[in-house]
Amino acid sequence: MQSKEAHQDKVLKEVTEQEYKYGFSSDIEMEQFPKGLNEDIIRKISAARNEPDWVLEFRLKSYRAWVKMEMPEWAHLQIPEIDFNDLIYYSKPKPKKKLESLDEVDPEILEVYNKLGIPLDEQKALANVAVDAVLDSVSVKTTFQKELKERGIIFCPISDAVRDYPELVKEYLGSVVPYSDNYYAALNSAVFTDGSFVYIPKGVKSPMELSSYFRINSAGTGQFERTLVIVEEGGYVSYLEGCTAPQRDENQLHAAVVELIAKKDAEIKYSTVQNWYPGNKDGKGGIFNFVTKRGICKGNHSKISWTQVETGSAITWKYPSTILKGDHSIAEFYSVAVTNNHQQADTGTKMIHIGKNTKSTIISKGISAGKSQNSYRGLVDVKRSAINSRNYSVCDSLLMGDQCGAHTFPYIDVENKSSVVEHEATTSKISENQLFYLQQRGLDEESAINMIVNGYAKEVLNQLPMEFAVEAQKLLEISLEGSVG
């Protein structure tokens, strides 16, 4: 009989080594710029998108700042050298034929999204989810725009917004994440391509989930999407994003910037299911995911809630953060980060308390398997002005096997005496007692492990909108626990 540990390791290996399902690549003819990054390329990107001059100025300013910046090295990550001149910065599907209407999408592209389980045909789509589908550098389709428009909601690719709503974009672009914020934010500000633009007018609650689906298709291409969400006084939106990429041997770069603005009494719920190609089990290939996401609770009593399920990418560097500027504003961060094989994740959040009576909650659940490294890094910064503020943080790590690593880097800075900050951290393993208990009730080891992992991540998964919760559970390779409960 093999030893208990060896046996358990074998099962863990089987459970955690499921193949990446979205690794297919599609042979769509693309129009691409040559590799390389310089002012000329940036001018070309801007021209290709018919941008007004102020956007080009913003790009050039950002590029000039980026050239002088250094890649950050403080994260617990081993990042191979990236040759930024060896990347394609603009890639869009070449129109095959003259399309009948602006709404029409090349059937080949529709097929890609069908294969991913995201029907872009409004007849077939989920009735309560509007989708903006971004392929490489451009948005190929945004559904339900008309229905949303009737309520004054703007949901469109940011390239359209720049032309159609220049005042709004000009006012808010770079207002939460300045171009000089960090190396990757500067890079994104220089070369950003499509992402979504959302505007919710005063008092309007979005009747559907708004969602963006990002897909990197072409080899050698970086994706640099830019998303901007503005919710006016008393408005509400729930926004979701998902992402996948083909299985390729070389690493690909994804450097996005997301900015959220919540005015007085407004609420933004922002959910991510990140499933970029993680590389193969020997650590070859995979996406480098370097993302800057930040929201501001600008008005009193506003709320921003981040939920992320991170399962993909070879390397993840990502800290969705909130500036709690309005008094009584609330921020939440719920995260499940799974790393396996040779994946590396350094992820967490920053909660910057400025307003009075502000409240933030951080729930982070790391799951490490294989030879991966999984780090939580979080900052709770309570300014002098943020009297009577509270933060509650829980960072749990679950280790599967003994070759992975879990790390927690909490930073806490409190400048007044009336605020309370609590931090809890645990590290655990799936216990043999738990496994045996479930097996004794008739569950096989794989189902037992899935059930334990699902239970561990429940608090976060529960935050996701239903449509995504299901996808996320599947992603964690967990069978649905049944329709009751």
Binding site: M1, G442, E445, S447
Partner: protein
């Protein structure tokens, strides 16, 4: 009539140390067996080996369950065949609700028998019926498995799960330990309601008092890895009176 369980000359241990040293036991349908014995004599080891827990080595002998040699089966296969273990220390599974846990267990059993998953309505009805049987509060349905349960609730929850899964053979490993008299009584009542001519129970206990409520057909005294004495329920009383010097 075939026995439900037949253990013949079982030698087994852990980490090279022999704990069971030639144990024999036959359990027929409709019977309740009590196994008593001092600490460290191998009672829990026996329960673990019958249920197939990893890490134990069986060096000799056989375990026949419903005319089938089960030694090569995985723990879940033995469970699906109809063996249930009521744990001495029920395990907490955070974030997994009792409802979902039981649904998964019932569906695993149905799948093993080639049946479709149970319908939600039917399942909820079953939950209600079995809850009433073992007198556990309704609120546990939405709580995580054993998380924050009192000692008594955990043990009652084991009996509840047994009622749900309706095993042919239930092994109750010191289900009475740490229970006050009321909890003990309700656990025993649950077991008594589930007794039938077709199933069988092995009740492992230190104390005679449980056997006042769950009246055994046969009492075994286990000592140093073997069953050294068997008798009717009077044996338990005699043991209580004289102590283990009875078998030393």
């Amino acid at each position: 009539m075939n026995p439900i369980l037949e253990i013949k000359n079982l030698h087994a241990g852990i980490g090279g140390k022999e704990i069971l040293k030639g144990l024999n036991l036959t359990v027929n349908p409709g019977e309740v067996h009590a196994i008593m014995g001092p600490n460290g004599t191998g009672k829990s080891t026996l329960a673990n080996i019958i249920t197939g827990r990893e890490g134990y080595e069986v060096t000799e002998g056989e375990i026949i369950f419903k005319a089938k040699d089960i030694l090569s089966l995985d723990p879940e296969e033995r469970a699906l065949e109809g063996i249930f273990l009521g744990f001495q220390y029920p395990v907490e599974i955070p974030g997994v609700s009792m409802t979902n846990f039981m649904k998964a267990a019932i569906d695993a059993k149905r799948k093993y028998k080639g049946l479709d998953p149970i319908k939600p309505g039917e399942f909820l009805k079953m939950m209600r019926e079995k809850q009433a049987l073992v007198d556990i509060p309704d609120k546990i349905k939405n709580r995580s498995v054993n998380e924050g349960f009192s000692g008594g609730e955990k043990k009652k929850n084991e009996i509840f799960q047994m009622a749900m899964l309706d095993p042919d053979l239930a092994i109750l490993d010191e289900t009475d330990s740490g229970l006050d008299i009321d909890a003990l009584r309700s656990v025993a009542e649950g077991v008594n309601k589930l007794r039938s001519k077709d199933n069988a129970f092995i009740v492992i206990t230190h104390y005679q008092r449980l056997l006042d409520y769950i009246v055994p057909d046969i009492v075994h005294i286990m000592y140093d890895g073997k069953i050294v004495k068997s008798g009717d329920k009077e044996l338990a009383l005699e043991l209580e009176e004289k102590g283990y010097k009875l078998v030393e």
